[in-house]
Amino acid sequence: MLFRYHPGTSFLHRLDPRTKLLTLLTVSASALLFSSLPMLVMIVLFELALACMSRITTRFLRALTLVSPIFVLVIVLDSLFSKVSSGPVWFSAQIGFLHPEVTTGGLLFAVAMGLRLLALFGISIIFIMTTSPDDFVRSLRQMGLPPILTFSLGYALKSTTALTGDTRQIMDAQRSRGLELDRGSLIKNPGKLAALFIPVTVSLLKRSGHTADAMQARGFNQSIAPSCYRQQKFGRRDVVMGIVLLALVLILVLIPLIPGGY
């Protein structure tokens, strides 16, 4: 699985999850607030630098390639139906009530929109790939979110793997009993689906019942403010990251003030 936490020891991995959350929010906000092309290019480059530092460059690029069709679609649609139209017209047509038109200004706008999406998506991937869900949940708890909420989030993150495991086990069992899943279409044969769907549902219900019992038996929700083991602590790294973020925002704000700039 690509879109999950990949353990590591890099600068970003060792940051407090709260700092990473701040990074996620700052970069996302900048990508939404600043719309000029050079600024968005800068943000994307900043993300690329973060990815390289965390040694997840390959995974980062692979994740981006996976969703690239969406970027292409956004750029194409935005360049055809751009709100901004200036400069020379490259293409113009009238199809029914639609009036697609490609202009230089529109093209630049479309590319900026694509980059904006890339920036938003990129920083989220970096966050997911470098932050352990458990640490993240812990830091949310430290921030004072109610335990029922943080636990649910943590359990949801964990249960995807548990569910995948259950499903795989059931598929293996039914394949071992001669159910052909490696060849042919699953949709064509409703019986095949039942052989997977029913056991998966049963195990899911069983799991939720048992887990609820186990949690209660171990005193969940007995205390209003349960203690937190492995409290996340801010360190020098977090200060450095804070300064870097501040610098990024300052540069983004100052670029338009440079004479001759955008």
Binding site: D134, Y155, Q169, R175, R177, G178, E180, H210, A217, F220
Partner: protein, 529 residues
């Protein structure tokens, strides 16, 4: 810790579950009364479905607060009535380890799992840290601390689940079959640890377990249950060998019918060729592994390292080894669920790699761990026919096979149109085994088939496997249960860290189980010897 005397008081307790899918209304407990003093070590034993687990759930308020059904009588634990106090409030006083560790792990990694209960009870951070270190050392799980819980094997999960409950140091500990699925050395470590808790901290320990052999020397009392009632309550010293509990649901089916089932030709058992290397036996192996190496994606070390193995017909091969040693991985290579990174698996002389798992199912029937997972049909007969139908067998043929299979798996007393999902654990397990046998494959592979079964059922499985082997089938069984292994095995393979550690054949006088002194099942086999 305030000592309440008695630690546990159960007075005239009855519990009835609501009607199941199978339309059965199960009365799990009938007028149970039990007094357990602080610091006592009580083993509650009894066949599957005798009400042990239900009694366990009554001790921390899960019954009546979180289980549907009707409860009568009262339970007072550590001075608190379970009717008045809700489950979480019991957490500090009563620790309960459930049967299935997969369902009780609630966090993503081992360390947070152990911390979970301590956090919920508001322990300071430093204390949590020292308790985690202590319990991890005692339960031999220190190397697991940083690992995600989803990557652990069954036995490893079991140990983590136990550790996470013990870390709280409750005054009463209830453990529901803690030994199922964990290897001998872990059993020893655990019993030692329990004894230590009892003597040092005066902890009251209640263990619900079939495998009583290792517990008997430690226990103060042994309580035996059957059909929801306490049938005996023996203090220490008088706890003799475990008396036989004949399972009434397991009435011996007529043997003449059984012997006709597994094929008419009863091949001679080759168990007598003790120590022979197998090559000079004049027999061709049905299944061969050649230099099989396999590493799970993302794992650092391979799960199997260059395994070469020939498996012969007419032999029950027992695969043993510690938790996480690679037993299941090995079995999953035998029908192509896993494909080796290096090396090959041969079915006769044909490589397995070219076939899909479903095609291989004609030759190899594999039953995974916790097989009640795979049950889904609305009737037992439908469930059993699923495999043969997938293999394209004719209806009349299936009909006949089902009749035989139900009989060998001691299911003939249950109406074949009963929905299998409402059956008890032991019954579901038998349905699952029958579902594999109904495919009539020459190779039968079972992964931990006796999990959660009582001695009576285990014995009937051991007999069944002997019969399969007499009929010339290749039977491969992975099990932790040494006793069960010895009862039905010809060849014993021990795996350690992905390598074969030992491979021995043991002499077996005849095709049946060797009579042992004090073996409660000794008499049952007279028809075969």
């Amino acid at each position: 810790m305030i000592k309440h005397d008695p630690a546990v008081l159960v007075r005239d307790l009855s519990f009835r579950y609501p009607a199941t899918l199978s339309g059965r209304n199960i009365t799990a407990l009938r007028h149970v009364s039990l007094t357990i003093r602080p610091g006592e070590f009580v083993v509650i034993t009894g066949p599957s479905g005798s009400g042990k687990s239900t009694l366990g759930r009554c001790l921390n308020g899960l019954i009546p607060h979180a289980t549907r059904g009707t409860m009568e009588g009262e339970v007072i634990v550590q001075g608190m009535n379970t009717r008045d106090v809700d489950v979480p409030a019991f957490a500090r006083h009563v620790g309960i380890v459930f049967q299935d560790p997969g369902y009780q792990l609630v966090t993503g990694d081992v360390e947070s799992e152990i911390a979970f209960g301590l956090e919920a009870l508001n322990f300071p951070e430093a204390e949590i840290g020292s308790r985690i270190d202590e319990i991890a050392g005692l339960m031999h799980i220190t190397p697991l601390l940083g690992r995600p819980t989803s990557e652990l094997s069954w036995g490893e999960r079991q140990r983590v689940a136990i550790a996470s409950v013990l870390a709280v140091r409750p005054s009463v500990i209830v453990m529901d079959e803690p030994f199922s699925g964990i290897d001998a050395s872990a059993v020893q470590a655990l019993t030692g640890f329990l004894l230590n808790m009892k003597t040092r901290a005066g902890t009251t320990i209640i263990v619900l377990e079939h495998r009583t052999a290792s517990l008997l020397p430690l226990a103060d009392r042994m309580v035996m249950m059957r059909d929801g009632e306490i049938v005996s309550d023996t203090p220490q010293g008088r706890c003799g060998p475990i008396p036989d509990i004949p399972d009434h649901r397991n009435s011996p089916d007529s043997t003449d019918q059984q012997s006709g089932i597994m094929g008419s030709s009863v091949a001679p058992c080759r168990g007598g060729n003790a120590g022979s290397s197998g090559t000079g036996r004049g027999l061709h192996p049905t299944l061969s592994l050649r230099e099989v190496t396999y590493r799970y994606p993302g794992a650092r070390t391979p799960a199997l390292i260059s395994i070469t193995l020939d498996l012969y017909p007419g032999e029950v091969t027992i695969i043993a080894g510690a938790n996480g040693s690679g037993k299941t991985t090995l079995l999953q290579h035998c029908n192509g669920l896993l494909t080796p990174d290096h090396g090959s698996v041969l079915l006769g002389s044909e490589p397995l790699a070219r076939k899909t798992v479903a095609e291989t199912a004609r030759t190899v029937g594999l039953l995974g761990q916790h097989a009640d997972y795979q049950i889904f049909e609305s009737t037992i007969s439908g469930e059993l026919a699923f495999g043969p139908r997938n293999l394209g067998r004719m209806d009349e043929e299936i009909e006949q096979v089902l009749k035989k299979t139900r009989c060998v798996c001691s299911l003939s007393h249950i109406d074949p149109s009963t929905p299998p999902l409402g059956l008890s654990g032991g019954e579901k397990q038998r349905v699952a085994v029958a579902g594999i046998l109904a495919m009539e494959t020459p190779v039968v592979i079972l992964d931990e088939p006796t999990f959660g079964l009582d001695p009576g059922l285990k014995h009937s499985f051991a007999e069944l496997f002997r019969r399969l082997c007499s009929a010339g089938k290749t039977v491969i069984v992975a099990t932790h249960d040494g006793e069960f292994g010895r009862a039905c095995g010809d060849r014993f393979i021990r795996i350690s860290a992905g390598r074969i550690e030992s491979d021995v054949r043991e002499a077996r006088g005849s095709c049946c189980l060797p009579p042992r002194d004090g073996d409660p099942f000794g008499g049952a086999r007279s028809d075969e010897s």
